[in-house]
Each structure stands twice: as C-alpha cells, then as structure tokens.
Amino acid sequence: MVNVQLKESKGKNKKTKLQLLGRFIKKNPAGFVGILLVLLSVGSALFAQWIVPFDPSKASLAARLTPPSWANPTGESTFFLGTDQLGRDLLSRIIYGAKISLMVGFFGVLISLIIGTVLGLISGYFGKWMDDFIMRFADIQLAFPFILFAIVVMSVLGTGIWKIIIILGLTYWVGFARLIRGQVISLKEQEYIHAAKAIGGTTFTIIRKHILPNVLSSILVLGTMYIAEFILLEASLTFLGLGVDPTIPSWGGMLADSRNYITTAWWTAVFPGVAIMLTVLGFNLLGDWLRDRFDPNMKL
C-alpha cells in the first residue's frame, strides 16, 4: 500500500513540473523573459564558435555592406543580418560580441563583488576607521562619474578587455561594500549573533556561518544588476575608442564603425544595439525578479 502511494505521488510530481513552469511563467512573466534573454546571450557567448554561420573576421570586399537577406528581395544575400563595411557577416560578429560583453559583466562583477563583500563585512562588523575609509571612498565615487574616470585611465593605458574589467572591478566595489555594511550593522544586533558570541564562537566563524549566508541574496541581486550596468559601460567606452581592441568583434566597436555608414547601411547601426539592449534588459529583468523574490524591501 505504502509503496503504491509513493509511486503515485512520484508520478504526480513529474506531471506538475511542467505545470510548475506554467505557473511560474504566469506569475512572473517579466522574470521569465529575463531568464530567457540571459540564457540566449550566455548561450551565444559560450557556444559562439559552433553556432556562427560564417567566420566573423573573414572579410570579403565583394560582399561589403550587403543588406540583410530578408530585406533585399532582389539581390542574392546569404547574410541574415547583412554585412559590415569589410563584408564580414553581421550576425556572426554579434554572436561573438556576446563573449566580450558577458566577460566584462561577469569578471568585472566578480572582482568588485569579492573586494566589496570583504570590505563591507569588515567595515560593518568592526566599524571605526575602516568604516570611515569606505564612506569617504563612496563620497568620491558619488561625486565623480565613472565614465570620466575611465576615460582618463583608459586614455593612458590603451585599449584592452582586461584593463576595463579591472578598472570596473576596482571602482564599483563601493556599491557592494555599502550594501553589505548596512545589512551587517543591523544583523550584528540580532539575538542569534549575541547567542553565537556567548557560546564562544570566534569572530571568523560568526561572520562565515551567521552573517555571510544572510547577505548572499542581496549580493546576488546587486551583482545581477551590475552585470547589466557593466555591459553598458563597456559598450560606451568601446564606442569612444577607449574600450576593447577595435579588431575584436564587440557590440560597442561595431556601433562605432556603423557611424560612418549610417546613411547607406542602416543594419550595421541597428542590430548590434538591439543585441546590447536585449542582453541588458534580460539582466535587469532577472535582477528585478530576484529582488522581489528574496528581499522586496531592498533599496536598489
């Protein structure tokens, strides 16, 4: 009897998985769209070399500035999104461009997240001079927009993807540090932290076991939103010629090239921007959904 019941409930569970997905989509349509868009861009970045229809760097002067195949009924274009000024396939370059944007997003956030979390924990838990230092740094950052700082530094260092990642990581940790500092200050006074102290827990254990798990969800939410912001900043810098090396296919670089052909080749200006917008929108929607799920009161 018991066995039969168990089997039945197992079967039920399988059925409800699809239903669960359906219910999730119905309840969080925006979050679902966000997840799809993020999966699309991450998939493009990871599997770029296997899914591109053409070699993204293969130039062909005969095919330069060919319109998209569907917008060009008379010609014999095989390029779905057309070609750029050197005859390179736009779709393939956009797929490869996802690599650059997501690398900057993920690694930039990883660096700022690690620095910010460590410093935020320290300043929130111990306070004093560390706290002062971080708040002063935050003041400067608030007063001086990143793009100006990046323009100065990149103009000196020259282009390069890792330079951008490091500059973003070294300036944006302040956001994580402030967020975590605030949470730690209120967590510190909770009963269970006092209890953990009373039974002789070391500072390190308390932070690792009782404080860190409680701030992880906020870190995740802010991290997701920063990925979106970093992708935008990288594209802007590359557009100005101060970001990624111009020979590498990147969305900002493609838009910078398109500026000269805008009167004759609209597709070179439209599609890389659509790629940026969908990706950034995806991470923003995902971040919104994560925030509503974990911590609706979070001020972000």
Partner: protein, 310 residues
C-alpha cells in the same frame, strides 16, 4: 547650520583634491607625451630635451603637481601642448554648448518622466501602470549613444527633419537632448512613481478627497507638490552623471562641447587639455551637489543635518 555648511565646504574641497590626485597621477602613469608628439620622423636628442623643458615635464612630478594644484585654484590649467592656446579659454569656448546640452537633457527627462510617473502611480496596477514601468525599464536598458544613432537614422537620414550633427541653432539641439535625457527619464519616472505612491497613501490626501476636491486637483496640488522634493534633489545629484553622459552624446552628434574637446585631446595626447577638461567637469559636478545638498536642508528643515542625513 553654520557648522554643517562649514563641514560640507571642507568635505567638498577634500573631494576636489582627491579627484585632482586621481586625474593627475593616472595620466602620468604611462607614456611621455613628447615621444608621441614626435611620432613622425626621428627627433634629435636636443629636440626632445628642448620640448620636454618647454612643457615643464623635466621638473620632478611633485613640482608638476604643485603647479597643477595652484592652477586649479586660479582656474589656470596651462596651455595646450598642440595649439599653445590657454586650456581655460578652450574650455570656456565650449562651455555653452555643453551646458545647453545638459539643460536640454534635463528638460526632456522632466517632460517625459513627470507625466509617466504620475499617471503610473495614480493608475497603479492597471495596464497603463504596466506600460509605464516597462517604459522606464527599457529606458535604463539601452546605451544612450545607440539611441542617438537610431534618432539620426530616423529623423535625420530617413525623414530629414532635423540635422544629424553640428551646432546650428535650436533644431540641432533637439536630437542630442532627447538622447541625453532619455536614460535619466527612465530612472526619474521610477522615482516619481514611488514617491507619488508614498504621498498618495497619506491621510491628508484622503481628507482633501473627502472635501470634494476633484481628483486631478488633489493629485497635482496636494500630492505632486509633496512628491516633488525628492525628485528635485535627485535631479540635482544626477547632474553629474548627466555631464558624464554629454561626453558620449557629443561624440555621436559631433557636438562642439567640452566632452568632444576631451576626446579630441585624448587622441592627440594633449595632457593639459584632458586634465583641465575632466577636472573642470568634476568641479561643476561637485559644486552642483553642494548647492543641492545645502538648499535641500534649507527648504525642508526635517532633513537631518550631518552624517547619515542623506
């Protein structure tokens, strides 16, 4: 109050100093401009030494910083390596174009965000609200330079209603202002919506409604005026990022402002111009923030003065 103002002033000077250190030393991390300026041909050693001395680059770096700092307080940023013109004159020549653009951006942002935010809040939970929120989310999800390119494509190339670039009267200001103001309007609409929602829940709104005042009169006269304060402060504090945004927008529209001056200087390794331009923008931002902060605490005495008051 006087103590607070003094503290804010000291703090402002501290921030300007910190920014000046960051800019000055990060520019000098690499490359000496002399070799870049002689990029064509083989210069003689004497020619290099001559130019280095002429530009003051032979002095110790601390002396150079001292000169730079002294210039900061007298608004004298030296002379351009390239043209020899005083940097301050170059900046002031371009200042009006940048300020016009920033102002245009604010006007566009307010004109879009206030109606969208108010209607979203009043019609909370309806499809109108939903579209308002989607609008503000999309507003923060695309790069503003791409919006600029799209506007050029539609209004300048295809419809040929407005000029694509340059600085030629009011019509050339329209597209750059929309480009600059759009991102801000997305964030601003969110803020207007949430502060309107907060105010609409207050008792005095219910009282005003119960007195028989028409809905829109309540919304505009009672609710909106109270929701205005946080948004105005926010606008003041966003002025900085708006100035940062002008650098990119000026590049898209070939707008002859300070941003373009800086980018051109970067391409020519014209250090005094890069340095002077960036620090000038930074000073404008810091001063605007200071004014907003001080006037905020004057307008609304409930604001806690001091740390944590923000």
């Amino acid at each position: 109050m006087i103590a607070y103002v003094t503290r804010r002033l000291i703090h402002t000077v501290f921030v300007v100093l910190a920014i000046s250190i960051v800019i000055f030393f990060s520019i000098r991390l690499t490359g000496d401009p002399v070799t870049v300026m002689f990029s064509a041909g083989e210069p003689t050693k004497e020619a290099i030494a001559d130019l280095t001395a002429k530009l003051g680059l032979d002095k110790p770096i601390w002396v150079q910083y001292g000169i730079f700092l002294k210039g900061l307080f007298t608004l004298d940023f030296g002379e351009s390596f390239r043209s020899g013109a005083p940097v301050t004159a170059l900046i002031f020549e371009r200042l009006w174009a940048t300020l016009a653009l920033a102002l245009g951006g604010i006007v566009v942002a307010v004109a879009i965000a206030f109606p969208v935010g108010i209607i979203s809040a009043v019609k909370r939970g309806t499809p109108v609200d939903f579209f308002g929120r989607i609008f503000s989310l999309i507003g923060i999800s695309f790069p503003n330079f791409w919006l600029g390119i799209m506007l050029i494509l539609i209004f300048a190339v295809t419809l040929q209603w407005l000029p694509a670039s340059g600085f030629d009267g009011f019509s050339s200001l329209i597209l750059p202002s929309i480009t600059l103001g759009m991102i801000l309007s997305g964030i601003l609409a969110r803020l207007v919506r949430s502060s309107m929602l907060e105010v609409l829940n207050q008792q005095y709104i219910a009282t005003a409604k119960s007195k028989g005042i028409s809905d829109w009169a309540v919304i505009i006269k009672h609710a909106f005026r109270n929701a205005l304060l946080p948004t105005v402060t926010f606008l003041g504090l966003q002025f900085g990022s708006l100035l940062g945004g002008t650098v990119i927008v000026e590049q898209v529209f070939a707008w002859p402002g300070i941003g373009r001056l800086i980018i051109d200087a970067i391409n020519q390794r014209d250090y005094p111009v890069i340095q002077g331009g960036v620090i000038f923008l930074a000073i404008i931002m810091v001063v605007v923030n200071l004014i907003v902060d001080l006037s905020y605490s004057l307008i609304d005495p409930r604001i806690k003065v001091g740390r944590g008051g923000r």
